[in-house]
Symmetry: C3
Subunit: 328 residues, 3 copies
């Protein structure tokens, strides 16, 4: 085992899996392994897209001599892989898997993800905050706009998240599937088993992270129920996923975990849901998906604000790891 | 009286009124009192919207343990109240006063105004400038987009500011009402008495502020006359209000007052009018109002530039009060 | 000659020509002189527009007591002149040369260019990067939107850069004209002699700059050929010009020149082409031209990233001059 860990191919794969874990704030290769299995169960091409994109970005970052620690912790694997996976899922009709155009897009995404991640990360670090998934969303929108508008102007890859008018009754399934699919939606997968494995991957690295994720997702689904939001949309997990990410991020990852940061994280979860819906409305005419933009904007904003409040205690960027490491 | 000032309810109301004064750069509760009366004369619901929004944001900021001095000076009362008032005026048909949905919107606006104000304020302070009304405009546009597009896609709350072709002759009334209504337009009210009371509130705290406001508004109306802009639009005050705010801000509030900053402020006033019109053109198809965005963008830009010129002398952010305190 | 150089009118013209040289990163009055002749050959009104805009902005900057060295090096002549020239070319039908409206636009552009250049430059310098042409593009889009949408909503000044379907065969002319016109396109001129003179102006000040420009433009045209891009569009120089500017900027101007920065610059050139095409797609429905936005965004991003890589070595902003001054 010790020998295995010294093997450079093994280490490279470990970096890719850490990158996958980073998507849900879990810098842990075992978490990443469980998550990639979960994704593959739902869509094996999506898992391949992630690994190839992550590998390209990691190699480019190494070549550019980016910070070695950051590379090894999967910072670029996160960006390149996530962009690759989302592109693959969103463009699976326009750009079929394993074609030349597909490889070109993965290369383009993987290469550009590197300066975008470093550049925005550097700029945001001046404000002591993380850019989270912002580089990925900007890059993805640019690529989607390029592919969609050039080839087929009438096309749209925005999934249905707005009220359809075909409302159904809320049952226990709405809650269970609505939350589990929320985990899957982070990777654009609708499969409760995938969601359950992602949740397992989170719990494995951080119990607080797992609990906050459930609380965040649960709060969002509960609010949707209280407001009578379309049941089918909720059950697809679309309502929960921005809130899940925000709750993990604010509830112990970026802020020292305690009762106050828990409250702060739940307020953030609700705002993230609302910002996501507003952005979905705004992006819909462009045919672009809102994805995790609610989480990205609200988390950035609440971390900027957090630095001016005594209510919560931000963890310095260079010490970010997992909630359990920063309990007072 | 001394006893009254120690009363915490009295102090809370003082904070709300200071917040109202801050909209026109006058951190003075008596100015705020005169202005709220002026607004109530034109629309009592608008004044109630301001006070409730201001109260919610102030309480949330206290709960988050934001900087005590900033809270007391009405920084959050300004944001929450201004958002509440503008929402109330713009959505008075879609969301009737004193309904459940109305309270929900005020709560949403008041709560989100807090991290947005702290967050953008923190980010802008790294460049030594104030975010002025930017958090309010961003929040308002997001809320309006959410409400309008979800319910009635064909709807628009953008007021008529562009040329209508129904031009009339300019008289002395165009100038007097055009300027006075410019003060009212800051709160989306068209009532010369309201405008006169707001002007009185400004003069009460700062004569320089009042004079700059008149100069800024007058210059804008004069330019509109010189260019033959539609008379009815001018008389509604739409042309003057961005210039009024810019002239107060650059003419003594953010820059040490002297002949050069007066010139700089008047250049800013003209640019603010032009940027406002451009933004109105750009936002019109989205059905969103441009409001004070001309003032916000031009003031931010000219304060960034001011730090690189010897022509004018910026006042450090933590010393901002009123022009008379910084006369050399 | 020594006497001539002390002449203030001569010095003023030198500043204007340095400003023109700055557009292609060559702070050299003789380069500027050759380039203005090149532009005049294609369009004498464009060269006049540049000089008047540059003069207005320089005088305003002097009046504002901006940094004397920056003024003299043509920083404001660059902004005001470039905005003036681009406005003149893009609006030549709507706003005829040498009319009152034309002078008003040049004044507006020249004046607003000053705080915009200082302001964005100041903000970007906090991240140790240059704003390059961003102030010019933002100002230009605002002016174009104002003029176009107010007068004629159906109008568009966006040139044809997207696939037309009328493809022709690539010949040696595609390559030669495609690259030479790429230099002309920086000033919206399609004339190979103009392009050749601009290239000469670059070479005169920096051989490395000239070689990088040719490499960048050549790579872009080569890629267009490999992907079978519409030949007529390529021959117009539209494909090359963002890549030319990016290659000069990253290849020795902002980064110490060596084999690695050459590679980094060529990656940047390709990304700039792609970002330009994406932005052209996005701006097309608004009727606005993408111009050099690909160069601006990619250069800013890759310079942000460069500060975190050991692969390349950024030159401090205050030491920027020409590649040959920073060879190790």
């Amino acid at each position: 085992m010790a020998q295995l860990q010294q093997n450079s191919i093994f280490q490279f794969f470990e970096t890719l899996l850490r990158g996958l874990g980073n998507v849900v704030f879990q810098n842990n290769a075992l978490s990443g392994l469980i998550i990639i299995v979960g994704i593959a169960i739902s869509s094996w091409t999506a898992s391949v897209d992630f690994l190839i994109g992550a590998a390209i970005a990691t190699l480019v970052a190494k070549w550019f001599r980016a910070d070695k620690h950051a590379v090894k912790q999967g910072m670029f694997a996160f960006s390149g892989g996530y962009v690759g996976l989302l592109m693959g899922v969103l463009l699976d009709k326009e750009v079929p898997f394993f074609t030349g155009e597909w490889l070109l897009l993965l290369l383009l995404g993987g290469i550009l993800a590197v300066p975008l991640t470093s550049g925005l990360g550097f700029a945001f670090s001046k404000l002591n905050i993380s850019a989270t998934a912002l580089p990925i969303l900007l890059l993805l929108w640019a690529i989607l706009a390029g592919v969609l508008y050039t080839n087929l102007p009438q096309n749209s890859v925005a999934p249905q998240v707005l009220a359809t008018g075909k409302s159904a009754v809320y049952t226990w399934e709405t809650f269970v599937y609505g939350i589990l699919n929320g985990f899957g939606q982070i990777f654009m997968q609708v499969n409760p088993i995938t969601g359950a494995l992602i949740l397992l991957g989170i719990f494995l690295n951080s119990r607080i992270g797992g609990l906050m994720a459930l609380l965040g997702g649960g709060t969002a689904v509960f609010l949707a129920w209280a407001l009578g939001y379309d049941e089918p949309v909720v059950q697809q997990g679309v309502i929960a996923f921005n809130s899940i990410l925000t709750a993990i991020g604010l509830g112990g990852f970026f802020l020292v975990f305690n009762g106050r940061s828990l409250v702060y994280a739940l307020i953030g979860s609700l705002l993230a849901l609302w910002v996501f819906l507003v952005m979905a409305v705004l992006l819909n005419p462009l045919g672009l998906p809102a994805l995790s933009i609610g989480f990205v904007l609200v988390t950035a904003l609440m971390m900027l604000g957090a630095q001016t409040y005594d209510f919560v205690q931000p963890i310095p960027l260079e010490q970010l790891s997992k909630p359990e490491d920063h309990m007072s």
